[in-house]
């Protein structure tokens, strides 16, 4: 992040718009949903970027999984459901979601969920959702720009860069996508921002570059759960 920041219309401190060197031209389209934050920023590696998504606002919806009185620990999917529901103003806790899922056979003993049960749980709490083979970064970015709640299935070993959690390379962890970063000049997707209950608050709003996303998500199926409705008045 640069040191000379100014406050944008969303109350976020962002680098000043440098119109003489880097103009946001018509190439960069505003997000589909004008209620979704859209601002300039700097990536951890120093690259300038345009971020779409309520990355900062969604950080508070993430926490370390396993925070429930039922000793359910494999709850990345359930905590992701909780995070999406809270984005839409449904004030639930992990314990609420675990209890609901466990008493209705929507999770395994321990808390494991499929994409279909994740969608069912989110829908049952009042936010219609569906599993979807998103299959591309552009489709995922589109959902972010539309203001949808999004859970994706990734390989934890790739995400955490640790072979101990790679298994056989398949998707084995659920996370929430909260933002997309695009190059301000070329509009190319540089990566996405996520909330990860596996690592907890320290990783809220973490930036994942496209290479990691390719290996962790696209190469493991590119599957997600997206809400049918979009956020407004963020």
């Amino acid at each position: 992040m640069t040191s000379d920041l100014e406050t944008n219309n969303f109350g976020q401190d962002v680098p000043p718009l440098i119109t003489s060197v880097m103009e946001i031209t018509d190439v960069i389209e505003r997000p589909f949903n004008r209620d979704i934050p859209y601002y300039q920023d700097v990536l951890p590696d120093g690259r300038r970027t345009i971020v779409t998504g309520d990355v900062e606002g969604c950080k508070k919806f993430n926490h370390r999984q396993g925070d429930n009185p039922y000793d359910y620990k494999e709850t990345c999917g359930l905590v992701s459901c909780e995070g999406v529901l809270r984005q839409f103003g449904v004030n639930v806790t992990e314990a609420d979601v675990v209890k609901y899922a466990a008493t209705r056979g929507l999770c395994s003993p321990g808390g494991g969920t499929t994409e279909y049960t994740q969608a069912q749980i989110i829908s049952d709490f009042g936010v219609p959702a569906r599993p979807e083979k998103l299959g591309s970064f552009e489709r995922l970015a589109q959902c972010v720009g539309e203001g949808r709640g999004i859970i994706i299935a990734v390989n934890a070993g790739v995400l955490w860069n640790d072979g101990n959690y790679f298994d056989n390379g398949q998707a084995n962890h659920a996370i929430v996508v909260t933002g997309v970063a695009r190059d301000p000049v070329t509009d190319q997707i540089q990566g996405f921002f996520i909330n990860d209950s596996g690592t907890g608050p320290q990783d809220s709003g973490r930036f994942i570059d496209v290479n990691t996303m390719q290996n962790a998500w696209l190469n493991t199926g590119g599957i997600g759960v997206v809400t049918e409705i979009v956020r407004s008045r963020v």
């Binding site: 969920t113 994409e115 998707a171």
Partner: protein
């Protein structure tokens, strides 16, 4: 008369099929650890068998993996599901007493693990047609795959793999045909 010969899916195609299958999204919790696809003819026709187990992954701690919780076999000719069952209803073995295990630490990098998987895939693609055709296959290649699997698969899980597809391991490790 139907003279059409069915085409067998190779190992690469079966893996891809699983990644994209609706079955995976409806029946296999994301958090579960899923086995490698194991060729088998235990149902009387060529197929690929899998098992899936609850697994707890916490950064900085060893992975804890429970015994298989569900298993299935797909037809090697087209990937259609032949059988799927939860262990509590129909286990794929009855004379076993598996317990939750802590997987051994892995020092390999992600790229190294991906390379090993790629090697397994490549060798499986060479050998599987012979296995399904009741041919012996090249003994050196069989030996290479046997060694690769022995090194790659977590040791606590090897009995589960061997029980899932005993015919494949018997064929793989045969010294003479």
């Amino acid at each position: 008369m139907n003279n059409l010969q069915k085409v067998l899916l190779n190992y690469t195609e079966v893996q891809e099929l699983y990644r994209n299958s609706v079955f995976r999204q409806t029946e296999i919790p994301v958090e579960y650890a899923v086995s490698l696809a194991m060729p088998t003819k235990k149902l009387g026709i060529p197929g690929y068998a899998y098992f899936a187990s609850p697994a707890l992954r916490v950064p900085g701690q060893p992975t804890q993996q429970d015994p298989p919780n569900r298993w299935w076999i797909v037809d090697a000719h087209g990937g259609q599901l032949l059988i799927f069952a939860q262990w509590k209803v129909m286990p794929f073995a009855t004379d076993v007493n598996w317990t939750p295990v802590q997987l051994p630490p892995i020092s390999a990098t992600i790229d190294e693990m991906r390379q090993v998987l790629s090697d397994v895939e490549s060798i499986m693609n060479k050998l599987i047609p012979d296995f399904f055709a009741d041919e012996p296959g090249d003994p050196n290649t069989r030996n290479t795959l046997a060694q690769t699997l022995a090194e790659y698969l977590p040791k606590p899980l090897i009995p589960q793999y061997r029980t899932l597809a005993p015919d494949f391991f018997t064929w793989l490790e045969a010294e003479a045909f």
